[in-house]
Symmetry: D2
Subunit: 384 residues, 4 copies
């Protein structure tokens, strides 16, 4: 008997963190994939992730429009409520044997609640990590609603078990995003032209002599400061003058602060060395990361994928606080001089050795195998 | 500066478990109560809890209609989603300094998510316990979304801390429902006439020579069996022939199964020794419990309040599995002979000594004091 | 090319008013039926219409839980809002060529809005009539959102056209509920036993020597009076002492008032000559109507189907005010003596001649033919 | 006794069409204003209307976030459903004596339904007009849900009455937007600097020697063509080379098509003679309109306010089809040469005489007086 596996993807980064698992599920003889694309993954202004999903050849079982405009804390809660209303209908139609939810974005609560209330086992990818802001609460609450835990690191597994989950339900699979990074490393550097392929706005910068990557998200509990924070990074990049590729932030309370900061800066100050993109295939994005001199901002890519890739990283602010990291990361505040200093340090020193802390490149296959064979329960009790 | 404390009450049993805290909050010089009454607490067919709240003199800041008809697993999820949409608006209007959520019913997730996403500290009453069914997942997920934990027992405190909460945020207050029980015990038995005061349906049974109390809820993950389960208890009560007061179940997936079981039994079999009530003041209910020979069913009152009161209890099925209990409880399956045997055993042996495991009768005051003085944070991180 | 016709049924009476059209749509070579069952049609306490639909052999394309508990004016609005959220998803999945909405219940606004906003042509059955209460507003608002109008009477057609609809879009089909009545009349009276087949509550009354039928709905704009109003009818029926079959009201603000009136009366006064039913196959219901001495209450069946059947009717209160009627109807207030007098008058005089004012028994087939061949537009403009 | 008047404003143009009535309501001794600001009126990317409302000194009783991201036909329906859920709560809290809804945007259905279902009389401003697209259906459906009709023209009054409304409930007040226009005309032209006051993007164009105004909205039933349509207008403006002030479209399915068209054009083609604004005080906007040489696009301002102002207008496409117009309007297709020709014709001929077809400048006061004194009913019946 084949198991129906329903995976809910709600945002651009979630897709990168589950893509190789999706491929492995499709290829698995005992699994049937039901892919649900929801929330900002459907929206043009957050990178139109659904287009990439469709071009990658995945069939989409349901689309769920759920993001309320306004981008404040109230709409964040309401978006989740709306998602819960909608996903209950989706799961009722699809009748999956197990639902997979990815990471810790606020709207993933809707997936975990709808499935668990409907007596469908929940598999959670990427639990047990520690970071700042609301994600921290969401991640562990999802763990408590889940029945299977596919974690990235032994330390994460230990945390999930200490929170009272049955050790038999916790598996260190590594993170599927590292699978993409591993594939990139095996591939020779190709002369890709991101400007021709993806457009974007701003000048065509020269990538031949080294460039920086920037990706900076708003931090929800510091809503009002989002604009100031992104301005510091923008000044740092402009002052350094090194060619830079900047990726648009995801949908969050405050994203308008960040977006407005970027738009204001471009209009008033100009950013002659920065090109802005909305989205790319995860592989193309990682290819650019892998060939960059340094990645800057507060994305987890800098800490996770870049540990594996050995790409130097400057991590700004508290968003990644608590996340396990290796020696490729320098942490700084939202301060333009500190950001510049850290980048210069990395530019002088060069790449790091690959570190498999977040996975060895085979996470997707392991997750598919576990989804096919692990016992599926809905009842659980605190283990102590 | 006075703190605004928003308490959300969503059901009859939640009201009993927070009532003395509500009184203490109102009396506290540094606290302002914002009472929100929601979900089944507004509904006539689940006991019209709001009437009791109003007659107790509490002012209601907002009413939230959120229960979707249908009473199945899908509507349970949708009810929560709708509650999330509504409560976000309520909190946005009330701007509380802290939100209090009670226990572990499925719809309490809406309270915890709305508040935490809106950066309002969440205080959770009655975390750290262990039971069966979806409540178990909800309770611990709410713990992970909360910032203050007011638990009933030292063992519950230990569990909350082991789940990674900051020990400085966990307080053993006891359960406010024990406050009500304690007040009842101090009061001499009064000649109350529940039939005159509350009506109900079925014959007026003679309470003078001893009677039984019954309260049996459906168990959500065994939806289809709800009707059969309640029939076993009904046959047991009818066969024993002892006068019995039966309390209607709360709103849950399956409650129609339970309700239909009761209605069918009354119509076809007759229940000449059973009188059915929908709701009472918590104090009147406890007074009846305290003077009964034995409490039967799967309510937590049998395990919690009755530990304090020393009333013998027969606990049926898995609903209270894992909950700490003392020697007043006999556990049995949904089997009419086992239920009858256990009741007979209790009737022969009589009352037990009072045991303060779930509280010493001062929980409400402790909770109010903590709400007034405990540091209110929204950021937290796993403690390991 | 076959047209996909999506019909949304939201309540027991709507099903009777569309059933023969559903059958004709299924049989039509150029139509494909997409049947959506929603709102109170899904609910056990409003007659479990969905069971009858399934037993009639219709395949259900989607179920939409949307009724919020509480049964007041606020939940009526919210139920419609929730239905709109859900039906948009349903139509997006089904991609119908035309959506059919029936009559004038408040929740049909959700159907008409979702379809018209999504550029799907709307066909409205039973527009152009005039009655009391909120139905009046809903009916004509739905007309203004619709593109095809299948009305019951020439007078209704005239009204729809006078409201500015294109005469070419208005068709006098008759009402499909008359099709069911016509089929019943052709059938010889069979010795059906409604008690054995449908259960219900109350005594088994003797139908051999003539009986009355009662069906009384709450009137939404007189919410608080629902209980008193139904009590008048109950006293009238009890006093007359003639055997009576009483049908439970549909879901509306106030239905709890009506239900409570009935329950209170049974408990306190007793109703030895009344048997209560929740639902029946429309055909069985009509068969009982056809063989009754008189129909009492405020249902449109008394005015519409009974015009065709020639069954005497006593219409109570304002609910049917403005509806075209023929000589089988006596109108009275909510007053027990007036009700009794009118019934006695009818019992003395006997049946009336059949009057085809609401249809000739071929409405279903006409509607299917029009759905297959009428031009489907979404643009329209006021015709003056 | 003072009447509580709840006015719901959902968009930038609705505010202009009700502002003088709001002021007259506040000033009226027997009226109390409850102003609800909802939908795109709360959103930065649609002009942040709420800021203008607050700066005009109005107190806001409730804010309703309800716009779902995605901007397609499905989200349009869902936005309305969400608004219905929210507005029911708002009206339940505010308990108004009458609710005022403005014009015909899709989300105004939520206002009209919530109020009418809750037995609150609805006053509709600007019914009885005829235009294209979904607005046409919405406008007349709102009329059928409303109890008072404040229309702009005698022809509109005639249409509302012919649709079956009681003539005693229909009042030709004129449109409050003309009140603003009248005030502007009385004011001498002041040397306002819109660039300094409102920013916007694009070059600072010279207004001294005459300029054009452009405002073009997407047309919902031609969703996919929105981008192409706006490009034609952009090419026409660029080719003419006359300084132009362009105002961003409102929120609608397709607005992203329009927005993207504008952004693409600016990036690829450049628009050296066009400056883009998001929003202004209605008065400043009208002042600019009044002093322009010609207004271009598909806004109703060109047809309504400009009839009064005598400003020449080029109306493009079908959006205003059916709307009463006078000789200041030339209608053209989405064709760049036709647009250019019409503008040139107007530039050669100059201004027109003022025509009071849509009002004499005293609509706001009339509406307030009627809200204070007109009988408030909820029951109504088709007048034929």
């Amino acid at each position: 008997m084949s198991r129906k596996v329903c995976v809910v993807v709600t945002a651009r980064p979630s897709y990168s963190r589950i893509k190789t698992a999706l491929q492995a599920i499709i290829s698995h003889p005992n699994l049937e994939l039901q892919l649900v694309v929801a929330a900002s993954a459907l929206l043009d202004r957050y990178g139109n992730t659904i287009c990439f999903i469709e071009r990658d050849g995945f069939e989409i079982a349901a689309r769920v429009n759920m993001v309320l405009e306004g981008e404040n804390l109230v709409t964040m809660a309401k978006t989740t409520g709306l998602g819960l209303l909608e996903l209950a209908t989706v799961f009722d139609n699809l009748q999956p044997d197990v639902v997979v939810t990815v990471a810790d974005r606020y709207e993933t609560m809707a997936t975990a609640i709808a499935a668990s209330y409907m007596n469908i086992p929940v598999a959670h990818v990427q639990g047990g990590e520690v970071t700042g802001s609301i994600d921290e609460k969401v991640r562990h609450a999802v763990t408590k609603l889940s029945n299977l835990h596919f974690v990235a690191t032994p330390k994460a597994a230990e945390r999930v078990i200490r929170m009272g989950e049955d050790p038999a339900s916790v598996f260190v699979t590594g993170c599927p995003s590292i699978d993409l990074a591993a594939a990139i490393m095996e591939r020779p550097f190709q002369d890709m032209d991101p400007f021709a392929k993806y457009g974007g706005v701003g000048p065509i910068v020269d990538l031949a002599n080294g460039y920086l990557m920037v990706i900076q998200h708003p931090v929800t509990t510091e809503y009002a400061e989002a604009k100031n924070q992104v301005m510091e990074t923008l000044y740092a990049m402009r002052d350094l003058g090194v060619p830079a590729l900047w990726f648009w932030p995801n949908v969050d309370a405050g994203s308008d602060g960040t977006s407005k900061g970027i738009r204001t800066f471009r209009e008033l100050e100009g950013a002659p060395n920065i090109h802005f993109f909305k989205n790319m295939w995860p592989e193309d994005f990682l290819c650019l990361v892998n060939n960059s001199k340094c990645i800057v901002g507060n994305s987890s890519v800098a800490i996770r994928e870049c540990a594996f890739l050995g790409v130097p990283a400057v991590n700004i602010g508290i968003r990644q606080m608590g996340r396990e990291r290796v020696n490729n990361v320098i942490d700084v505040d939202h301060d333009r001089s500190a950001i510049k200093d850290a980048i210069c340090h990395h530019l002088a020193n060069g790449r790091y050795l690959s570190n498999p802390i977040y996975g060895d490149g085979k996470a997707g296959q392991r997750i598919a195998d576990l989804l096919a064979h692990a016992p599926l329960n809905i009842e659980k009790r605190l283990a102590y």
